[in-house]
């Protein structure tokens, strides 16, 4: 395996609260190899979107990335990069697409000129050349009749087409890394499959690494090579798609997978994880999942779990897994 393209290490992001700053993301580590697709999975509010924004260094104020954090991309330390260089990296080497294609395009300019902006911002090309590239991109992301659509306004396009435009924008400069923040949540089921297919094909043909953020295991199954599961601002388990979906070790991952409706369980009550995600700043002591964990035991209430490798590629942060792995 080649050297990782993106390494996130000890990432901590804090926001001010009544009693000092609260870390909504803590000790998050990720790594993505070139051409690899990593899915970051978790419930709403677990900190997965803010992690993606942190990689772009776009954590909204008053949020702050705390000191031990390290994010390196292609060997460069992103957190100490000058603002202008960081800006040229965004949209240049790192592309990002968002959850809401409906509102992620400027309503008063044509979609063509918005994709054009992505191109002229990062390269010096003539207007005609840039326009040709836009049409090429539209073709690449499967927009029918691209020459005509460049002059369309966002409200004239469907949600699926808008998401394709967003992908064209993000892919305009052939980025090394594409971050997709819940790219299909706002789309209906058939369009969802098409968009995922598109993302997978683009990643395969261009060799782009993809970080896809989702709460949907259908998406994970469709596109991911590797999966990281987040809970309450921390990674609780990571591994390849086969490992995580086939042999999940962390009780949280197991619970998530059990709560997916499946045909053979028809007629039975759908399982759920009891309780709700604790609020940021009110994390329980010890393992943050112990309040909802069906198999929690003494150590879980007081001590934070450490990383336990269960295979060369799979690891879980769980006392029980550590206990079982002990020889």
């Amino acid at each position: 395996m080649s050297a990782p393209l993106l390494v996130v290490d000890q990432l901590a992001i804090s926001f001010p609260a009544e009693a000092g700053r609260v870390r909504v993301v803590d000790r998050v580590g990720l790594s993505i190899a070139p051409g690899e697709t990593l899915a970051l999975v978790g419930e709403s509010g677990c900190g997965k979107s803010i992690t993606a924004l942190a990689i772009m260094r776009l954590v909204p104020r008053p949020g702050r990335i705390e000191t031990p954090s390290r994010i390196s991309f292609d060997g460069r330390d992103l957190l100490s990069l000058p603002v202008t260089e960081m800006r040229s990296l965004r949209g240049g080497k790192i592309g990002m697409i968002f959850q809401e294609p409906m509102t992620s395009l400027n309503p008063v300019t044509t979609v063509g000129s918005q994709v054009l902006e992505a191109i002229v911002l990062h390269t010096k090309v003539s207007a005609g050349e840039a326009r040709r590239r836009v049409i090429e991109l539209f073709e690449m992301v499967g927009i029918p009749d691209p020459a005509m659509r460049v002059g369309a306004y966002p409200h004239q396009l469907s949600g699926g087409l808008k998401q394709r435009v967003m992908i064209a924008m993000a892919m305009a400069m052939r980025p090394r890394l594409l971050i997709c923040d819940e790219p299909t949540t706002a789309l209906d089921a058939t369009i969802r499959a098409q968009i995922l297919e598109l993302i997978r094909n683009l990643a395969a043909t261009t060799g782009t690494a993809v970080l896809i953020i989702t709460h949907d295991f259908g998406v994970v199954n469709a596109v991911a090579d590797r999966v990281a599961v987040m809970y309450a601002g921390q990674i609780v388990e990571e591994g390849t798609r086969e490992e995580l979906l086939g042999r999940p070790r962390h009780p949280y991952t197991q619970g998530l997978l059990r709560s997916i409706p499946r045909p053979e369980a028809r007629g039975r009550r759908l399982e759920e994880i009891k309780g709700a995600v604790p609020r940021p700043g009110q994390w329980p002591a010890g393992c943050r999942f112990h309040t909802r964990c069906p198999v929690a035991f003494t150590g879980c209430y007081t001590e934070e779990p450490v990383c336990t490798r269960v295979s060369p590629t799979q690891a879980a942060w769980c006392h029980l897994v550590a206990e079982e792995a002990r020889p």
């Binding site: 772009m56 949209g91 400027n106 309503p107 300019t109 902006e117 967003m166 924008m169």
Partner: protein, 339 residues
């Protein structure tokens, strides 16, 4: 000064030819212009006529006065002056619209039946005076808007976009200005700056930017959080470019509607200033001010007030309806799909 206004007229004509050509070149603007014409034909014609009159009243040169008219011979006279010949086309005093005898005394007039809206106390033709007021009104509205809009947008958008210190500063300034009665401030400013078109425009501009600034700030505050601004940031777009490409175009329709309200508000504000005796010479406000006493006469002398009011009303109404249509058209979200 007359060569300045001549130059401005040439610049204006050249500018509007350039604007017209660029409008014709872009499909969006061409269609918008056609749509505007379809919806507001009458109002556009009215404003067009007013603009035409103002232009005629701005081109002037010295000479060509009648013999024996010493004052007029050394003053630049505009095209309107030359068409009407106000030095000659006058009576001794009041005369009713289309009358053939004087209002007081009943002597026959020099131009019986020729004064469409009668004459004022000095025997000057009221139609001529109202026409002269067109230029003053347009000048006040347009020139002050030119001062107000850049200030308001600069302050409002930067305050809304960057927030924090800049926002605090701008908001403080706005609050201070808003807490002083604007009429008081206006009078004080004109006292300091002196009377004159430029001075009055600056005074109106200094007091008038708060409203648009507040709107621009609020809207920017909202747009700053828009998903497409976040998307633009993720594309590596700089703050300046985000403001120019994503924020300003999205508040353009608000600027247009505020511009129209501002324009008409300014024309009306000048009327108030004239009423207080610090307005501009030859404005409709002055006519209305002078008509104050005439209203208490018996029989009543109404044509001065009526002429100024009707002209004022026509301009204000036409500009407002055009702005209303422009807002609908400029905003692609409310725009009807063609065909």
């Amino acid at each position: 000064m007359h060569w300045v206004s001549n130059g401005v007229v040439i610049l204006l004509i050249a500018g509007s030819i350039w604007v017209a050509r660029s409008v014709a070149r872009s499909r969006f603007w061409r269609e918008s212009a056609i749509e505007l014409w379809r919806r507001r034909r009458l109002a556009l014609v009215v404003v067009g006529v007013f603009v035409f009159i103002a232009l005629l009243d701005s081109i002037s040169w010295i000479g060509g006065a009648r013999d024996g008219d010493n004052v007029a011979a050394f003053q630049p006279r505009t095209l309107i002056d030359r068409m009407v010949q106000p030095e000659a086309f006058k009576e001794a005093s009041y005369s009713a619209p289309l009358a053939s005898v004087a209002f007081y005394g009943g002597q026959p007039l020099r131009f019986p039946g020729a004064h469409l809206l009668g004459t004022d106390i000095l025997g000057r033709d009221v139609v001529y005076r109202a026409l002269k007021g067109v230029r003053v009104a347009l000048l006040i509205g347009a020139f002050t808007s030119l001062i107000v809009i850049p200030i308001a947008l600069l302050f409002g958008v930067t305050a809304g976009y960057f927030g924090r210190r800049i926002d605090d500063g701008v908001f403080f300034l706005m609050t201070v200005l808003a807490s002083v009665p604007s009429l008081l401030l206006l009078i004080a400013l004109i006292m300091v700056l002196g009377k004159g078109t430029l001075q009055v425009c600056i005074a109106l501009g200094v007091t008038g930017w708060v409203h648009l600034c507040r709107i621009a700030r609020g809207e920017t505050l909202k747009l700053r959080e828009a998903d497409y601004v976040a998307a633009a940031r993720a594309l590596g777009v700089s703050d300046t470019r985000i403001i120019l490409r994503h924020i300003l175009p999205n508040i353009a329709h608000l600027v247009i509607i505020t511009f129209a309200l501002l324009f008409t508000g300014l024309v009306l504000a000048e009327t108030i200033l004239s009423y207080l005796g610090i307005g501009l010479d030859g404005s409709w406000g002055q006519m209305i001010d002078q008509a104050r006493n005439e209203l208490s006469r018996t029989p009543i002398i109404w044509w001065n007030l009526a002429a100024a009011s009707v002209f004022l009303f026509a301009l204000v109404l036409a500009v407002n309806t055009i702005a209303d249509a422009m807002r609908d058209i400029a905003d692609p979200r409310t725009r009807r799909e063609g065909q």
